[in-house]
Symmetry: C2
Subunit: 223 residues, 2 copies
């Protein structure tokens, strides 16, 4: 599978309606996953759905998810069918009619069987991918994972084989008669996720400098 | 059920670990739901999990979800078990050790059977609740829902009976030895969701004013 391989078109990743919002190239999938910070992991437990928010990281066509994120069920997600969804909200679409209000967004939905990453080199690599996504630069700056921590953590891997991407990135789509009536405003209120000023921990010595990988990240998305 | 009724403590809403992050009062649930804009709705389809992003709105102890959001399966969610999760990311927690990195967040998970809202008055009320959450002021400003639109739209309702809330809102939690080593920065990089400047639709006449309910919303969360 290369980056130009089209996304899958299995029945459950083929959009039932609004097909124009489906995006079928792999770069679009990567872009959504690389821009998000939290995914929603769905599993079936006792026959009912469970949706858990968790961090993740991508390396090529593999998505890694932390297996110890506050929910015991994540550990049991290894070897079973999961659905991972990442959604980025980009705007509120105000239309001339209440009914045509909408959102601009990018979302990715991935289906597959999550596998526990157990081989030590692969597991350490997965932890680096997760860290690089959550906090780029921390893998080099912070203390390494020690043997006890390494044994206690669990990581799941999911192939990006069966996936779909949906994007809405446009203005209102009002009916002609609503446009002609000219009675209401229509437009988009952009929604952005931004970083604030880094807040040093209270237990750091006074004057401990905020490292470049943190200040640069804050500056990159400052409004 | 009043606003001071504790949240449920069924087995699946009782946290398996990190119990200190569980929040058990109903106001905390309302706060998460009222601050979010998108929920992730989980259903079981053909025995496998499906997680869909969609808009929602809350009125008292009822959560409303649009039933026609691009996925035919949402319509079949009526009458079946769902899990609705809303997650707000508040910060990236940088710790002195890679292993202790974390996120500050607020999340709500609700379990229940989604019911289709069919009685006309209840359905119109549900549409108003959804609109007021997505775009406050639009119910009054934009054209009303007409009979054809009203018939075509579907709304699901979910009681906020079985729910759990988790909150992490603190600095790094490093081990004493990592603090004493004093080798790495630790702190929080805040994450905020903000609105940008309203963008008027290209098909509006020049000079059409942006209404107050939009400009005020943009200003309220401007950084």
């Amino acid at each position: 599978m290369t980056s130009s391989t089209p996304l899958s078109s299995t029945e459950r990743t083929t959009l039932g309606r609004k097909k124009n919002r489906g995006v079928t190239d792999r770069q679009a999938l990567y872009a959504v996953l690389d821009d998000g910070l939290i995914c929603h992991l769905g599993v079936v437990r006792d026959g009912t759905p469970l949706v858990l928010p968790t961090g993740y990281g991508r390396d090529g066509d593999t998505l890694y998810v932390h297996g110890s994120t506050g929910a015991s069920s994540l550990r049991t997600a290894a070897g079973i069918e999961v659905c991972v969804t990442v959604t980025l909200l980009d705007g509120i679409v105000y239309s001339r009619s209440v009914n045509d209000h909408s959102m601009n967004y990018r979302s990715a939905i991935i289906f597959g069987v999550a596998k526990a990453v157990v081989e030590p080199n692969a597991k350490m690599h997965a932890l680096k991918v997760l860290t690089d996504h959550l906090a780029p630069g921390s893998w080099e700056h912070a203390r390494d994972v020690n043997a006890k921590e390494f044994a206690a953590v669990s990581v799941l891997a999911l192939d990006l084989t069966e996936a779909s991407v949906k994007v809405r990135a446009e203005g209102p789509a009002d009916a002609e008669e609503d446009i002609l009536a000219n009675k209401a405003w229509a437009g988009v209120l952009p929604v952005r996720t931004v970083f604030g000023e880094p807040e040093s921990s209270a237990d750091l010595p006074a004057g401990f400098p905020v490292p470049g990988h943190v200040t640069e990240r804050a500056a990159a998305t400052a409004p």
